[in-house]
Amino acid sequence: MLERSAPDAHPRLDSLPEHVDGTTVLALTFGRDDERGVIVAGDRRATAGNVISKRDVRKVFQADEWSAVAISGAAGPAMELAKIFATELEHYEKVEGSPLSLEGKANKLAQMVRNNLPMAMQGLVVVPMFAGFDHGRTTGRIYEFDPTGGRYEERHFASTGSGGRDARGSLKARYREDLSRETAIDIAIEALWDAADEDIATGGPDVVRQIYPLVTVVDSDGYRELEDDTVAERVDAVINQRRRS
């Protein structure tokens, strides 16, 4: 309405400077006996229009000891959101002497996304994904969000960003409920490969520059990021497998 009656009062999408966009992030839970948790992974490419602006950006961030936040959308506000969120969680934990529940953390993030709505209306959309280890249920849990602050829990896997749909297809085909941690990592890497294969804004593994997807694990031992060498090995395995077929 505003755009029609008073076009000048509303900042127009095409008048925005081109901003850096992040693309595909995904998460999937794994769980077998006492080995339960969640894998969160993302590609490393950032684009501005049709230009690749960065080849090694981080889209997965540690939120606290037991959770990760992965973000697609406008890179600037996305990184800011991740930073404020991590600060909020740590602040609560120190003041109260104990951390928030996983549900509490997800709700806090939903609030922060909702506060970003005016920015989202102007094109700076930030869509995070939140995943962590729930000590009460001793399992990994995944939450997705929409730009209005809607919060949706996914039981098995989730993906967002421009290559999210392709990643989801890949995850859907391979996911099982009783995945081991190692298999879940392989499935995450394969799904990112499939997304990069179909979506120009998603970066595949860059073997020349040695840049690989960022893969993180959150389980009863807490948050940790896989070493580049480990990811490289697994990426090679995926490439070899794809080459034969």
């Binding site: 000891e65 600060t87 740590e90 602040h91 934990e93 120190k94 003041v95 002497g97 104990s98």
Partner: protein, 238 residues
């Protein structure tokens, strides 16, 4: 009409009032060990802490009125988190925090309201040293080294601690020295289950703060030759 009270008398009355409140409680001991600094407090509560994490390398200990130092503790965490967010994590220092505390205590002491009945310690570990600040109820501040005692009856505790302190002690030795010092004010040894033990260990990851569980405290106090390690202790601020 208000009766005339000289500034000297007013400050003296306020200081007496604050000191009386602080000396009624139990002491808190801070002692350096080879990997950082250890705080030991006699504290029957397992949930109402006198020792707290403030930021990555900065910790806090207090004696006096709980609600008053709890307020200061929260303000400190808030200040540190905001500074770290606005600038960089490394820009949060024990010195700036201690100065902020000295300011607020100093203002409260001279304002018409009642002064805080608290005494604070702020510690920061650096790769090769420990910065230890002692802040009094009136905002006066001093930096200490090696060991310090606040609250309760400090003299006997301090004497004991000075006798037992040696630079480069391990965690177990530091804990035993602190325990012995705290027990010197009593007529018997302080029950290890009533001790709150926490500190900063420079060998830990980003967040250097640790808290020792009761079992670990008992174990370290039992083993005379303790090869102490804070790594097996509780997670972060939990």
């Amino acid at each position: 009409m208000m009766p005339y009270v000289s500034p000297e008398q007013m400050m003296k009355d306020r200081a007496d009032f604050a000191r009386k409140g602080i000396s009624r409680g139990k002491s808190v001991v801070a002692i350096e060990f080879d990997r950082g600094v250890l705080f030991v407090a006699e504290n029957p509560s397992t949930t109402l802490h006198k020792i707290s994490e403030i930021y990555d390398r900065v910790a806090f200990a207090a004696v006096g009125k709980y609600n008053e130092f709890e307020l200061l503790r929260r303000q400190g965490i808030r200040l540190a988190d905001i500074t770290g967010y606005q600038y960089a994590r490394e820009d949060v220092t024990g010195r700036s925090l201690a100065n902020a505390y000295a300011n607020s205590l100093g203002s409260a002491f001279t304002e018409p309201s009642k002064p805080f009945e608290v005494e604070l310690l702020v510690a920061e570990v650096t790769p090769d040293a420990v910065d230890l600040y002692h802040i009094l109820y009136d905002g006066s501040i001093s930096d200490e080294s090696g060991h310090v005692v606040i609250g309760g009856t400090t003299e006997p505790v301090n004497r004991q601690l000075a006798d037992r302190y040696a630079p480069g002690m391990d965690l177990g030795a530091a804990l035993r020295a602190a325990h012995a010092a705290l027990s010197s004010g009593e007529d018997r040894a302080v029950d290890p289950r009533r001790l709150e033990v926490a500190g900063l260990d420079r060998d830990r990851g980003r967040r250097k703060f640790f808290r020792l569980e009761t079992e670990r405290v008992v174990e370290l106090l039992d083993t005379g030759d303790g090869t102490g390690s804070a790594d097996e202790s509780g997670q972060g601020a939990s």
